[in-house]
Amino acid sequence: MASSEVKKKRKAVTRDVDSGPAIVSGDEPGFAQLDGTLAGSDDSEIGDNDDSIFDVGSTDESSEPVEDLSDDGGRDSVGSSDDGLSKGSIDQKAKIAQPVDIEVETTALSGEDPDDEEEDDRPNFRVQKDANGNDRYIYDEIDPDDNSELDELGPEENTIGNIPLSYYDHFPHIGYNINGKKIMRPAKGAALDALLDSMEIPKGWTGLTDPSTGKPLELNEEELNLLKKVQMNEIPEDGYDPYEPTVEYFTSKTEIMPLSAAPEPKRRFIPSKHEAKRVMKIVRAIREGRILPYKSPEEGGEDDADVQNYDIWANEKARPEHIMHVPAPKLPPPGFDESYHPPPEYLPDKGEKKAWEDADIEDREKEYLPTDHASLRKVPGYDNFVKEKFERCLDLYLAPRVRRSKLNIDPESLLPKLPSPEELRPFPTTCGIIYRGHKGRVRSLSVDPSGLWLASGGDDGTVRVWQLDTGRQIWSVSLSSDEAVNVVRWRPGKDAFILAVAVGDHVYLCVPPICDPDLEGASLEVLDAGWGYSSSTSTTKLPLTWTRPSNKLSDNGVHALISLGHTAKTVSFHRRGDYFVTVCPAPSTPSSSAIAIHTLSKHLTQYPFRRRLKGGGPPQTAHFHPSKPILFVANQRSIRAYDLSRQSLLKILQPGARWISSFDIHPTSSAISGSDNLIAGSYDRRLLWHDLDLSPRPYKTLRYHQKAIRAVKFHPSGQYPLFADASDDGTVQVFHGEVVADMMSNARIVPLKVLKGHKVVGDLGVLDIDWHPVEPWIVSAGGDGTCRLWR
């Protein structure tokens, strides 16, 4: 009956909710007790059971609003629920009456305050009994809270310290910050609630913006439901039933009877033959030692392997190295400077040391700096030892090996063995005589065939004849006041004494009255023989005629005059002296009259070339071959040889020079070696030796001058194998140029002497040279107005 009473009581409570909130507040023990009572009364009234369950559920449901109510009522009920009063007593009190219940509440209320005070006044120690039975005070550990004053306060933090905030209830602020500014009271909940209430939030409002549309994002009903389900930890899918009935794959029922009535086969009860066979195979293998049990290899075997214990070269057989194999070069042995205590002269001085230290590691010639250590104990370790050995290793397998043939020969042996200058003597070495007298440059000079006289002509328009070995001026004639004497040439041959002079547009033929009268007479005869001839066979087509010069000149020894009309720059006699060729190189000269051949005996002038020479510009100079009827004509870049008897072109030489200034033909080479040799000088500083049979290109190209070469000349007699060239740098260079009779060997050219003496005046040094006909002497005409004899 007690249980039914309880039940009744519960029912009563549910009915009038207002009356007993404290009782219904529903503590677990009470509920369990309730269940127990329910279980106990299970047998008697089942029908009531459901009802009671429902009732309990209803109480559970209603407990929430009950609590809400109690909250609204005040803090009292909360305090009551925390009370240490047993449920049993409550139940008993609840059985008595309502007023009692209230009484309990009041006691609970009254009990609250002393409790709080007790907490404040409670001593911060506990008292225990120690072993002797005396009191022992155990203090609680002091928990230094985070808001201790020692802590740094933020700028907006309250600085009022550990006092109740209720002191500030009457003020609009709640304290002061660290700067002494008032911290205002934040808005109260009520005000916020009022504000929020005033705003109406639409359903599905999120406060977000849909990035795709730019409109505010609002959730629809479905999505809200989904969210709700997610929030409730439910399966969000619609129509999902978590409590579906199971469908079995196999039946869970076991049948009593077997499906087949066949008896067990025999093989299930006898050992397998096949297995026995296989086992026997293994057994046999084990017996025979084919299968060995696993044994881990021993550790000790390694050391023995390292020691070589047989002679690998027991039956050695030498094998020649492969031809392409390059053995690694051995490192060179250390030198004196690598010693730990080297001789003092090997030690670097300050400058060298600094240079070594400043240099990049790759740039250093030696990888170490010679250092002196007074004794062995002071020698430090060498830092780069490992690195050097490593680099050696790298060299051994990475560096390409190339066999370089090192020329271990004396450099002297490379030098050609030249005959010493002593053997090649005589040749001119020193300046013997200086012929002074010309004003301005001396343009040309010539030594007469007898070797006694020297004729010279210069810018002052005079022709002077000097005694060669004394330097005395014997004869002089002024042929022009404004034009320079370009060329003076003696007629070869000792039977006459005739000097050809080219001044401006004219060529004069003179017989200087200085030789003995017989010779002078013979010379005049040679010159005068042509007058009759020209008058007797006068033809109209003769382009120009020879005339007698004025009396004043003829008194001075000038006996014939040819007016070429153009400036002749070179005059060259044929070896017999009957012909001479003049060349007018000026570009304005018509090509037909640039080269003229004059016959002395007939006073005849011919122009052999009607058309201009092809290629290489205007003609520069021309010479007759010393023994054959060949005329060599040089224009700027080539030299041509014409056969005069057949009137045909023999050969074209291409010296490779830009502008040939002069050339000369070896006097005797055609007789000695059968081929002609020729030297040419050019304004582009080259001296070129040609062997005409060898090649149209030069056999030797010599470039020893700093300035243009003006004149080149072989020694006219075959006696001395000498030739010389004169240059604008003021030097005359003398060479030994021997043409040998042996057909197989080429000419031997040896530089002999540089004759320095002429001063360079206005970029002109030596303008002309001429050899003495018999002696190894040379005469040079300088731009400084002097002539010099070198011997």
Binding site: E316, K317, C393, Y397, P400, T430
Partner: protein, 671 residues
């Protein structure tokens, strides 16, 4: 018409193969290729024409001979490398499956063993070939023997190198084939003659080696693998060639106690008579001197007596040998300087064996024990004692032992007075086995020398005066024994006067004198030049008379024309000419590096003489130069270039020698 040849099918294009192509052809990784190349001694080549050899771009690449690579294709090592690669894959797989035990087992037992024996035989078909290539091997192995063990250089490798090196040194000691040694700033160079081949190697000083970042120990390790195999076989051959058993017995305990060379016991191979006389069982070290066993001490004493007897015998022999010493090689001296000198054998093993044979050495504790011990033993010394701190195996550790004849000391000078006689017993330790003197004490009757004495004696091939090498003395310079005097090179052994070019010393003297006088000279120059312009003609005429020999000189030519000028009556150019010639002279003198003074009559006849001599020299030099120019003019351009190149290296050598000479001159003048 013949078949058109395709490009890149013959010639250089086919003979050379780039490294990438080679690696691809061999189907191995680049590090494996590197190892293979190191083992097989295959090195890149420089094609004669880079462009023809490379089929594609003209980028700089390394080329190998195609034949070389083809030859590598058949190498058995390649199979090993592939096995190793397969194994590493297996290990990686089992590690990936977390089967650590499997991985360990595979790594431990599955690693294919690489043997290099066949490669040694292949690369060095004869023993002499191997000896010829021993330089680098020894240098590297000695370095590794002195390295600390790290993860990259395992201790087994170091131990193996040490063992091989010590074995090799033992051979050198027994066969007396060490010839020369040199203390350099890098380390100690040794040279031995084995089977007629000179082998030179470098051993570092015993310091911790500084290793820089850019040293790859894997490459060096590959070399060490190869070289240690090589040296093992060489050692075997060397030991068996002198009748010893290889490997010698190695006593690990004694090695632990620092015996080094003494840890090995050499055994003779002939069993029958070997054990009888006890000589065949040859313990190099005399460690038994330390044992306290009285029987052994007695035996040792007897031995010493015997040794002394034998020494006397030897001395007698030597004296006798001096009279009828026909076996020894005679020294050939060339009579003339133009003759070629032939290389002569400098030392034979008999000489080396007897250099220090009669001495007992004691090595003080500050001297480097190992190299000194090795050298002394290799040159015949049998009794070497040292301080007990230097390790085991000494003949005696007793510094005051009376048998010691020489003591190697590397300390500042010892005071003469503090000899043992005065200080008596207080300088000694109590322990009679290893008595040590107080520092600064001397035992009378003993030669004290610095370590360099040992080296210099060995290089000189005879005993040198020990007083020059006394402790604290300034040592004579230590010279490399391998530098031969070559013409044009500076030789510190010869005196300065022998090497100077003619006139060099005088010139230097003048220079040094002129350093002081320079100011005076320059001021007097101005005056004298003015004088010269007034009556310079006479002056120069006078100077011409003074030096008749110089008259041929071309620069003097101008003056030959005096008479002619007078004859011509033109004197205007005369003065000008004189000035010019004077200027010319000054220039000449300047070119010759001489102080120019145009007035030879400036009051000092001595300087005048010197001046003329200098002038003569300068003129001679100029003449020579002119001659050289003349000859060079006739050379072809190619030859001239070659000549100038040769001249360049020669002149560099000459400049170096000249610099050294001038330094020495200065030093000699200062002293």
């Amino acid at each position: 018409m013949g078949k058109i040849k395709k490009r890149g099918t013959s010639g250089q294009a086919k003979n050379y193969i780039t490294r990438t192509q080679a690696v691809r052809k061999l189907q191995i990784s680049l590090p494996d290729f590197r190892r293979l190349c190191i083992f097989k001694g295959i090195y890149p080549r420089e094609p004669r024409n880079n462009k023809k050899a490379s089929k594609t771009s003209s980028q700089a690449t390394t080329f190998y001979y195609t034949k070389d690579i083809q030859y590598l294709l058949h190498e058995p090592l390649l199979a090993k490398f592939r096995e190793q690669k397969a194994l590493s894959k297996k290990i990686a797989r089992s590690l990936g499956r977390n089967e650590v035990n499997d991985a360990v087992r595979l790594e431990k037992y599955g690693t294919p063993k690489i043997t290099l024996d066949h490669i040694i035989r292949e690369r060095y078909p004869t023993f002499v070939d191997a000896v010829r290539d021993l330089d680098d091997a020894l240098s590297l192995l000695f370095l590794f023997a002195n390295l600390p063990s790290t993860s990259t250089v395992p201790s087994q490798v170091i131990a193996r190198c040490q063992r091989l090196c010590h074995e090799f040194e033992h051979y050198l000691i027994t066969s007396n084939s060490l010839r020369k040694s040199f203390l350099s700033i890098k380390g100690i160079y040794y040279q031995a003659t084995i089977q007629g081949q000179d082998v030179m190697w470098l051993v570092p000083y015993r310091f911790v080696q500084k290793a820089t970042q850019d040293v790859d120990y894997r490459i060096m390790g590959t070399f060490v693998d190869f070289y240690s195999t090589l040296l093992g076989f060489v050692n075997f051959r060397l030991y068996t060639s002198i009748g010893l058993v290889y490997p010698p017995k190695f006593n690990a305990e004694r090695d632990e106690r620092g015996a080094e060379l003494g840890a090995f016991t050499l055994e003779g191979r002939a069993v029958g008579d070997g054990l009888e006389n006890g000589d065949s069982l040859k313990t190099i070290a005399n460690g038994h001197a330390q044992t306290t066993n009285p029987v052994e001490v007695q035996r040792q004493l007897e031995q010493v007596v015997q040794l002394e007897d034998s020494e006397q015998d030897q001395e007698n022999d030597n004296q006798a040998g001096k009279e009828e010493n026909d076996d020894a090689l005679d020294k050939f001296e060339t009579a003339g300087p133009e003759a070629d000198t032939l290389a002569q054998p400098d030392l034979d093993s008999n000489q080396t064996a007897s250099l220090f044979a009669s001495f007992t050495f004691y090595i003080s504790r500050e001297a480097p024990r190992h190299p000194i011990e090795f050298l002394l033993r290799a040159f015949g010394c049998r009794r070497i004692g040292w301080d007990p701190v230097l390790g085991e195996g000494a003949y005696t550790n007793d510094e005051v032992d009376g048998r010691i004849t020489h003591q190697v000391v590397d300390r500042p000078s010892l005071p003469e007075s503090s000899s043992l006689g005065e200080s008596g017993e207080q300088g000694q330790n109590v322990d009679s086995n290893s008595r040590t003197l107080r520092p600064g004490m001397r035992v009378p009757g003993r030669t004290y020398i610095q370590p360099q004495w040992v080296w210099d004696c060995i290089n000189a091939g005879r005993l040198l005066r020990p007083d020059l090498y006394a402790p604290g003395a300034t040592l004579p310079p230590h010279l490399s024994p391998w530098v031969q005097a070559a013409p044009g090179q500076y030789d510190p052994r010869a005196s300065l006067a022998e090497q100077e070019l003619d006139g060099e010393a005088q010139q230097a003297r003048e220079e040094s004198r002129n350093d002081g006088q320079e100011d005076d000279a320059s001021s007097s120059d101005v005056e004298s030049s003015e004088d010269g312009s007034v009556d310079g003609r006479m002056d120069i005429a006078g100077s011409d008379n003074g030096e008749d020999e110089v008259d041929e000189v071309p620069e003097e030519e101008d003056f030959a024309g005096f008479e002619d000028e007078e004859a011509g009556g033109v004197g205007s150019g005369n003065e000008h000419e004189d000035e010019r010639s004077q200027h010319q002279k000054e220039l000449e003198a300047e070119a010759a590096g001489l102080p120019f003074s145009s007035t030879p009559d400036s009051g000092k006849p001595a300087t005048g003489r010197i001046g003329t001599e200098a002038k003569k020299r300068a003129l001679k030099k100029q003449k020579e130069e002119e001659e050289l120019e003349r000859r060079k003019m006739m050379m072809s351009r190619k030859k001239r270039k070659l000549f100038e190149k040769m001249q360049y290296s020669n002149s560099k050598r000459d400049a170096e020698a000249e610099k050294l000479r001038s330094k020495r001159r200065k030093l000699e003048r200062a002293s």
